[in-house]
């Protein structure tokens, strides 16, 4: 048999370097586990940090030199363009921050093993693949690489009942969702005869009204909606978030979300915009349901991680709202608004999870909202920082959360989605209530001695720098520099929106 050997240029290797780097280090970390001579956790951690840092530098450099058009390699298997670099950059940056935070976490002392680094790098490599591909099969492989690694990590990093439950739940439901997604891709392939996203959109133009395309689009949106954690496919989120060690929760809430949003932008804007009449109502419904129900369900949560899980469902709802506004009408807002929202959400979430990890250090168990009582007195700066995060999640100015919400409103209203915006407004008023519950606990109630004394976290320079940095970024992007981040979002979206 004669396979044509793909002609790969140097620029392909250049732009695929982060993925290659992480895959190789993943294998190295795995082998280090079995080797007797260098079986040291410490060296695995160093490999992890150095390779992530190198990958981040490469991606930033590539983003800087790339033009607005994207390059395709391996017949669409790999796309090198700003949108992809944007997603990759966020994912790697998040991974780096999470690694640094995990370094100071109690998990490291108790459960850390070299294989975890191997799994972690595999997850990242899968994510990096998924955000930079034009091919549905490669996209699926990237998704599964990321998901399977995450399933394993949830149950493996710190084995206890809660995390086992979260892992199993996520695994079972996630597999079903993956099957549905694959089913959708199969229908799309059957109808259009191609697996390339950009070619699907051309083919759809020729065979409009084909029911297999529509079925494929519906199944795809269900599969992606599951990974985005939109209501009614959100059931796994609170359990998985609660069960996972907090660092991993932070990673899932931010990097997973970035991955799936960038992939969704490609699939829906590039591939399926021709049948937007089919998926826009479905997505609009899921966005509205997420905005309302997730926020209402969050009201009743005691565990801080569950609360943030429901809040993350609601934030997916905002991004889905902008995704709904993508097809038809004015197109220049929706994609950049999603990307800007991702920037803001990632910064805020990492900060919030960093504080939670820091508080958890002494307790090895989930903290509940009541544990935060009186935090303002013991740790005023942590309390102020956490309230900045809460206000930003709630979308109050002068934080970046407000600007990102305004951008989403702009995107939605430019296509006259007034009803959805009103639902979003109601939802975010509800959300402000539970974000403020955290603030009320910290500032407005006196600490009860039992719970208050349990929280005696040690000082940690890493946490301080990360938390301080995200507070500074939130306030700066909300006041002085929103334009800078908006420009990044617009540039990254240019290859999709063509503007």
């Amino acid at each position: 048999m004669n396979f044509p050997i793909p002609q790969l240029s140097l620029s392909f290797y250049g732009s695929a370097l982060p993925i290659i780097l992480l895959s190789v280090t993943s294998i190295i970390a795995l082998l280090m586990g079995v080797s007797k001579r260098c079986n040291s956790v410490q060296s695995a951690i160093w490999i992890n940090k150095i390779s992530l840092f190198a990958a981040l530098l490469i991606i930033i450099r590539l983003y800087g030199i790339s033009g607005s058009a994207s390059e395709m390699f391996l017949s669409g298997g790999f796309v090198a363009g700003r949108l992809g670099y944007f997603g990759q950059g966020i994912i790697v940056a998040v991974a780096l921050v999470v690694s640094l935070l995990m370094g100071v976490s109690y998990i490291k002392a108790k459960f850390f093993r070299g294989e975890i680094i191997a799994l972690f790098h595999m997850v990242i490599a899968g994510m990096l693949t998924m955000v930079a591909t034009d091919d549905l099969v490669t996209l699926f492989i990237g998704l599964e690489m990321a998901s399977i690694g995450i399933y394993a990590l949830i149950g493996y990093v710190s084995p206890n009942k809660l995390s086992q439950e979260g892992a199993i739940k996520y695994f079972v439901l996630g597999s079903i969702a993956a099957a549905i997604l694959l089913f959708g891709f199969a229908f799309l392939y059957a109808a259009t005869g191609t697996l390339r996203i950009s070619e699907i959109s051309v083919a759809i133009g020729k065979i409009s009204g084909h029911s297999w395309v529509e079925l494929g689009a519906i199944l795809t949106i269900v599969g992606i909606g599951f990974k985005m954690a939109l209501v009614p496919f959100h059931m796994w989120t609170p359990d998985a978030y609660e069960g996972a060690p907090t660092g991993l929760t932070a990673f899932m809430a931010t990097a997973m979300k970035t991955m799936i949003m960038v992939a969704a932008i490609r699939v829906f804007e590039n591939g399926l915009s021709g049948v937007h009449g089919v998926w826009v109502p479905v997505l609009g419904f899921m966005a509205a349901a997420s905005l309302l129900f997730a926020n209402i369900l969050a009201l009743a949560q005691q565990s801080v991680k569950r609360l943030l899980a429901y809040s993350s469902i609601a934030h997916s709802g905002y991004m889905a709202l902008a995704l709904t506004a993508m097809s038809g009408g004015v197109r220049q807002y929706s994609v950049p608004s999603i990307l800007f929202y991702l920037i803001s959400y990632v910064i805020v979430s990492l900060g919030a999870f960093a504080i939670i990890m820091w508080l958890e250090n002494e307790r090895c168990e989930n903290i509940i909202v009541d544990d935060l009582t009186g935090l303002a007195k013991q740790h005023p700066f942590a309390a102020v920082a956490l309230s900045v995060f809460m206000f930003s999640l709630g979308g109050m100015p002068p934080t970046v959360g407000f600007i990102s919400k305004l951008y989403i409103f702009n995107a939605a209203l430019s296509n006259n989605l007034v009803g959805l915006v009103i639902i979003a407004a109601i939802g975010s008023t509800i959300s402000l209530y539970y974000y403020m519950r955290v603030i009320v606990r910290m500032f407005m109630m006196e600490g009860s001695p039992v719970l208050g004394s349990l929280i005696k976290p040690q000082r940690s320079l890493t946490t301080t720098v990360i938390v301080g940095g995200s507070v500074a970024l939130i306030l700066l992007l909300g006041t002085l520099l929103p334009e800078k981040a908006l420009r990044v979002a617009k540039h990254s979206a240019a290859e999709v929106t063509g503007g």
Binding site: P397, L406, N410, L413, V418, A425, V440, M444, E483, R487
Partner: protein, 517 residues
């Protein structure tokens, strides 16, 4: 002078914020106190400077500063004052040193944070009054809630958490719908002109069909009505006022509530004039109901602070009906509008003073129940004098500011809608009844409670922040023109041209030529 005039509004807006950081980081409460006081006096002087240099013959927006903020959305950093906001800005800068003086004696570890919150609140208030860009305004409008939320929630009374939460949720829901309407307006402006801009000066030029105006006007009017608060959106106010610490109440009544009425004048009326004309009878109805309902509810209160809080509902009802007095010819009544803007200031001063005075006796006795007091005039003559002045100004006795405001409003509304004016004047009458009974129950009658016999009269520090308010209440009644003069062109401009409103502007650096005034 040119340099000062070019940046004076930015100074007023951001100086308190910078001071707030300094206060928060200062080593001791004593230092914090002086930093706070120094900066607020500096800002007050800045306010007076604006007042002095303001060109009272022109309706234009003055001391304008304009820079790009978020070019992607066409959002600009525009600050400016005209006759509608001038007095409110000066009032805000004037109240702040008094508020800080009333906090002078408190010395505990949390006090630094409290002073920092007060200063950042001042920043937000002045910013909201001076911002002339929709989004820029909105940032201040919402950011202002955060310090007030903490002031009520941390330093408030027993039900403070409930009150603070209610306060912020109520306001935010209204504001978000207003934001959505503002974004729709922004797109309407884009469709008509091809330019993306959120500058109010541009948005004034948008002409919308009545049906579109109605929706957006509703969103704006509800957001501002919640803030005013207009009946039936007033329920957060008594809670917030009663639970807030004294200075929180003073600033809430003095400035924050005025944001609602100011917003109606600045945004709702000129942006959606046709919808406003249609909705005016309903709004006047709500205003009149608010006047009478607030007065009747205040009458039966046993808690002095609650009584003053409900009197605010009643008094702001006057401002509301003054805002929407559409005359037969389609113009707004100049008298009513003048009265409304005047009443905003006057209410800020008299009600601010009343909250301070209630705070004074609460601090001494730790109760505000009217039944616990009586006969205080005997051993607290200064307190009695000042309470009577504040009360009389609040009920609108001739010779006080309250009279001027209410009289002008009633005169204007009578020409536009006689029935409303008649019912509203019932409110004046009721106001006299409950406010005087407040005075009577606290000051007169037998001094039989032994705890009251030992109460000390006002100390010099307390006189220091109460006397200026009392003097101002009287001066505003005797020389109203000194205050109204500069606001007149703007108000006439709004009244006559609200249907095709536009604002000229004078940049800050053009303001130095005093001889041209």
């Amino acid at each position: 002078m040119q340099l000062i005039n070019s940046y004076i509004l930015s100074f007023l807006v951001f100086m308190p914020l910078i001071a707030a950081f300094a206060v928060f980081l200062s080593p001791s409460t004593a230092v914090a106190r002086w930093v706070a006081m120094g900066s607020s006096i500096l800002v007050f002087l800045g306010g007076l400077h604006v007042w002095y240099w303001f060109d009272g013959t022109s309706p234009a927006l003055q001391f304008v500063e304009s820079y790009d903020w978020i070019p992607t959305f066409g959002v600009k950093y525009i600050l400016g004052v005209d006759g509608l906001s001038l007095l409110l800005v000066v009032l805000t800068t004037f109240l702040m040193p008094l508020v800080l003086l009333s906090q002078w004696h408190i010395d505990n570890p949390r006090q630094k944070a409290f002073l920092a919150l007060l200063l950042s609140l001042e920043s937000g208030m002045i910013g909201a009054l001076a911002a002339m860009d929709m989004v820029f305004f909105y940032v201040f409008w919402e950011a202002m809630l955060i310090p007030m939320y903490f002031i009520i929630g941390v330093w408030g009374g027993k039900r403070r958490i409930y009150a603070a939460t209610k306060f912020i949720l109520y306001t935010v829901l209204g504001s978000l719908l207003m934001l959505a309407a503002a974004v729709l307006l922004y797109f309407a402006h884009f469709r008509q002109t091809g330019v993306y801009s959120t500058s109010l000066l541009d948005l004034y030029s948008v002409r919308l069909p009545l049906s579109g105006q109605m929706w957006m006007f509703t969103a704006f009017a509800v957001a501002f009505a919640i803030k005013v608060p207009m009946w039936p959106f007033h329920t957060w106010l008594p809670d917030a006022h009663v639970e807030a610490p004294t200075v929180g109440s003073v600033l809430l009544a003095g400035v924050l509530l005025k944001m609602g009425t100011y917003g109606l004048l600045r945004f709702a009326v000129p942006l959606f004039p046709d919808a406003m004309v249609v909705a005016a009878p309903l709004l006047i109805f709500c205003g009149v109901v608010g006047i009478i309902y607030g007065a009747l509810t205040a009458w039966v209160q046993k808690d002095a602070k609650k009584m003053v809080a409900y009197s605010s509902v009643s008094h702001l009802g006057f401002v509301v009906i003054g805002t929407f007095a559409v005359m037969a010819g389609g113009e707004l009544s100049v008298e009513a509008l003048t009265g409304a803007t005047y009443q905003m200031i006057n209410h800020g001063i008299s009600t601010g003073a009343l909250f301070f005075l209630v705070g004074v006796i609460y601090e001494r006795r730790h109760t505000r129940m009217l039944s616990d007091f009586g006969g205080l005039a005997e051993n607290m003559p200064w307190f009695a004098t000042l309470l009577i002045i504040a009360t009389l100004s609040s009920v609108g006795l001739p010779g006080t500011g309250g009279f001027v405001g209410e009289f002008l409003i009633l005169m204007g509304v009578f020409q536009a809608m006689p029935v409303a004016a008649i019912f509203a004047s019932l409110g004046v009458l009721l106001g006299a009844v409950y406010m005087l009974s407040l005075c009577r129950k606290i000051l007169f009658g037998p001094l039989d409670n032994p705890e009251n016999k030992v109460l000390k009269d006002l100390c010099p520090r307390e006189l220091g922040y109460l006397v200026p308010l009392a003097v101002l209440a009287i001066v505003m009644g005797v020389f109203p023109n000194a205050f109204m003069g500069k606001t007149k062109p703007s108000i006439e401009h709004l009244a006559k041209h609200y249907k095709n409103y536009s604002l000229d502007f004078k940049m800050g650096y053009e303001m130095s030529d005093k001889s041209a005034n």
